[in-house]
Every structure is written in C-alpha cells, then in structure tokens.
C-alpha cells in the first residue's frame, strides 16, 4: 500500500511537470507565416495606376506588375529564327488587335494575375480564376494563344524570367518571399511541361 502511494505520488508529479510544460508551449504558439499574397501587400486597397478612379488590392497589383514584367522580358528576347527563346510560345501575344476587343496580352495578364493571386492567399472574389486548367492552358490544341507545347528547359527559362521580373519589382533573390514564389512555380511544372 505504501509502495502504491509512492508510485501514485511520482506519477502525479510527473504529470504535473508534463502538463505544465505543455501549457507553456500553448501560450507561445509558433508564428503563422503570412501568405505570399499578404507579403506582397495583401488586401489593402490602393489606386489602380492604369484604371483611373478604380481601386485595386495591393497584392493583386504587385502580381500584375510581376506578370507584365515577365511578359515584357520574354518579348524582349524574341528573335526571329533564333533558338533558345520563347518566341513560338509568346509571339502570338504581340499581335495588335485594334481597339475592338480585349487583347491577347490583357487576357494572359488577367488570367495569370487571377491564378497567382488566388492560389497564394488572395481569396477575395476579385481574384477568382476562371480560366483553363494548367494542363489545358498550356496545350495549343485547347488554347490557341499557346504557340507550342513547353519542354522542361522552356519552363526553367520561364522561371528565370519570373525571377528577373520579381527582382525588377522589388523582390530580391535572397529573400524568403522569392524562394516561396519559386516553390509555387515549381509545383506547376508537371501539368505545364508537356513535351
């Protein structure tokens, strides 16, 4: 009986120590990492510099700037009959469509901005992506604005363009934000690479 009391007392002390420790942990939870969208400005409303009188979420505007810079960098590298650039993929976007309809660039910019904003934490309705699936969007048979299918090397090159565009818009290569953006791009490699 005496032995049982000692064991019971020991268990009580031990439990108290364990629960006290747990309790301390609960009081200081690990900080939750903000989403990429939040870190790019989040839902804070700012004036849209390209649509007079309209407001836009800062996170969405940041993504739009990076998307457009990426397109611009790719277009700058397009050279007739030169290999290694993404001419066949993106040149159709350069066609001027006049003022009678949304341009191909506008559609791509909007779709990519929606896609990246929504999938990195910008879940407000304004960012809802209603385009094709990644596999369908990168297949010329289902998306006429896609010049040709992409190889793994093409996609790596594209990631480089996005990285340079992010740098140009204030996201340095040595930051966690940059690494997280690259991780998102890497997660899309499988459905996009079809060659």
């Amino acid at each position: 009986m005496k032995n049982y009391s000692k064991i019971a007392l020991s268990v009580l002390f031990l439990s108290a120590a364990v629960f006290t420790s747990c309790s301390n942990d609960d009081e200081t939870p690990a900080p939750v990492k903000a989403s990429i969208y939040e870190r790019l400005g989040g839902t804070k409303m700012v004036a849209d510099p390209d649509n007079s009188g309209q407001m836009i979420e800062q996170g969405r505007l940041s993504f739009r700037k990076v998307v457009n810079s990426t397109i611009g960098l790719i277009v700058a590298d397009i050279q007739s009959n030169a290999s290694g650039n993404l001419q066949a993929h993106f040149a159709p976007l350069l066609a001027e469509t006049g003022t009678t309809q949304a341009t191909n660039i506008a559609k791509l910019s909007d779709n990519l901005t929606d896609f990246f904003s929504f999938n990195t934490g910008g879940t407000n309705a304004v960012n809802t992506y209603s385009g094709l699936s990644m596999a369908a969007a990168h297949n010329p048979a289902t998306n006429p604005r896609m010049g040709t299918k992409s190889s793994s090397a093409d996609y790596t090159k594209f990631e480089g363009y996005v990285g340079a565009a992010a740098n140009a818009n204030g996201v340095a290569s040595n930051t966690e934000l940059y690494t997280d953006i690259v991780a998102v791009l890497e997660s899309l490699r499988t459905p996009i690479v079809q060659k």
């Binding site: 510099p49 390209d50 810079s69 960098l73 350069l94 001027e96 469509t97 006049g98 341009t103 140009a168």
Partner: protein, 143 residues
C-alpha cells in the same frame, strides 16, 4: 388515314423539340456575359535599336517614352538593343508611339513587326467606340 395521324404526331413532336431547343439557345445568348478584364486594352510593343543601349541612353529613352500619352505604369524593359513597353491601345498604338519617340530625338531604331505566321488574328467585328455598342450594352454579350 392512320399514317397521316402518325405523321402529324411526329411533326408536332419535332416542332416542339425545335421550339424548346431554340428557346434554350436564345436564353443562353441573352444571359451570356462577356469576360471582363482589368486592363482589356493592354498591348505590348517593342522597338529594336541598331546598337546596344547603354545606361545613359536607357534613362533618356525611358524619359522620352514616359512623356508619351498612353503608356501604362508597367516597367519599360530595356535589354541589349531592345525596348519593350506597354500601352493602352485605345489611347495610342505602336506606330504612333514610335513616331512620337523619333520626333523627340533621332534614334537609330525600327519598330518590331511581328512575322505574319506568328500573329494571332482574333478581332471582333464590333467597333467598341461606335454609338450602337454604347447604346445597347445588352447586345455586347453577342460579341
């Protein structure tokens, strides 16, 4: 007599199906909404210079381009001998921008013309600046 009755019945059924399908089609046309884009008139254009552009020239070219009406706030990209810029195609177009840039300074450059085989032509026949387009917003879903 009996055959006539069957033919009549078949015709009524065919007519009913046609009317039903037409009504469904009409409903879809009327309720269809055109896709809405944030900057629908965004266009990217490029000017190729004869020589590589140095940093001093780059600043000058950027300043000259920024003073032309119709360019968007997106970055002007200058790489090697190439300048890429974005503009609103309701306000200006690549020919006008090129002409205005050349009027500001005599640059040895040419606008980039997309080879015909790479151009994607997908043009709506409706002029968005026309009175009809503005007066009948519901009709826009047809285009």
């Amino acid at each position: 007599m009996k055959i006539n009755k069957y033919i009549k019945k078949a015709l009524w059924i065919a007519m009913g199906i046609t009317v039903l399908f037409s009504a469904i089609l009409l409903f879809h046309i009327i309720t269809a909404k055109p896709a809405v884009y944030e900057t629908p008139n965004l266009q990217v254009s490029r000017i190729d210079f004869k020589e590589a552009i140095d940093s001093a020239q780059a600043i000058q070219i950027c300043a000259d381009l920024r003073s032309i009406k119709g360019l968007t706030s997106d970055s002007i990209i200058i790489k090697r001998n190439v300048v890429v810029y974005f503009h609103n195609n309701r306000i200006t177009n690549s020919k006008k921008v090129y002409a205005q840039l050349m009027a500001k300074r005599h640059y040895d450059a040419q606008p980039y013309i997309l080879p015909e085989n790479l151009a994607s032509k997908e043009v709506c026949p409706m002029d968005q600046n026309s009175l009809g387009y503005k007066v009948f917003p519901e009709d826009q879903s047809f285009f």
